[in-house]
């Protein structure tokens, strides 16, 4: 029944009074927990994908090269690999593929052996 008389302002005052009674170590732990919670909330709000990557250990640390998100690094590596292989294959096929001239020879009036000296 008494709770019905509580207002937002009175709750805030009560909480502040209780907080003042806590020792420094507890206050410090609570402050750190609050910062962590706020950081998680900020990530989730600004970029759900980044938050998901972060929670799955796919987003990098905070220094130098490794500060890039790991997913970006992995995607860059994969794209480079695919590009390299595609280039290698295209160059390879071009080097081996004489099919344009071969089809002309194979469909010519003269038999293949006529061109052998």
């Amino acid at each position: 029944m008494r709770n019905k008389n509580l207002t937002t302002d009175s709750i805030r005052k009560l909480l502040n009074q209780s907080a003042h009674q806590l020792d420094d170590a507890t206050l410090d732990s609570l402050r750190q927990a609050r910062m962590r919670a706020l950081e998680r909330q900020r990530l989730a709000e600004e970029a759900p994908v980044l938050a998901w990557l972060s929670s799955h250990g796919l987003k990098g640390g905070s220094h130098g090269f490794w500060s890039m998100p790991r997913a970006v690094l992995a995607l860059t590596l994969t794209a480079s690999l695919i590009g390299g292989i595609a280039y290698f294959q295209a160059a390879n096929e071009h080097a081996y593929d004489h099919s344009d001239i071969d089809i002309a020879i194979l469909t010519d009036d003269l038999p293949v052996d006529a061109y052998i000296d």
Partner: protein
């Protein structure tokens, strides 16, 4: 932790890309259209080098656009073409390129010359060939 994840991703990417590198295909792996175009080579396809296979697959790709007469010529000559050495094929390609660059009248004269020479060679070969023993 970071490096481990990166390695896992790179390994997965490489594993996915390895089949692309394995280029040689067995006869059974060819499409029905490729098999039809390269039918005369069915018996020896799996023995051909990767380079040759790549080249023949290029021919198979162009085969459907050929006229029936051209398709017949390709089928008649594919096996002979595959039996030539790489040097012989390169030599023929080079000669054919030169031949195509000639003006029409010279090209016709050259064709006549090559045709006559080929006929004489065939004649000589049949004369030299030993008679088949009677059963």
């Amino acid at each position: 932790m970071q490096f481990n994840h990166l390695c896992k991703y790179a390994a997965a990417a490489v594993a996915l890309l390895i089949p692309l590198l394995a280029h040689a295909a067995t006869w059974a792996e060819l499409t029905p259209q490729q098999q039809q175009a390269l039918a005369p080579l069915s018996g020896e396809w799996n023995k051909l080098s990767e380079k040759q296979q790549t080249n023949f697959l290029g021919i198979a790709k162009r085969y459907p656009k050929l006229t029936p007469l051209q398709q017949e010529r390709v089928h008649d000559r594919l096996v002979r073409w595959s039996k030539l050495t790489p040097e012989q094929r390169d030599h023929i390609r080079e000669k054919y390129r030169t031949y195509r660059k000639l003006p029409p009248e010279k090209r016709e004269a050259m064709k006549q010359h090559l045709r006559q020479r080929h006929a004489m060679r065939e004649q000589a070969a049949s004369a030299v060939a030993p008679a088949q023993p009677k059963p």
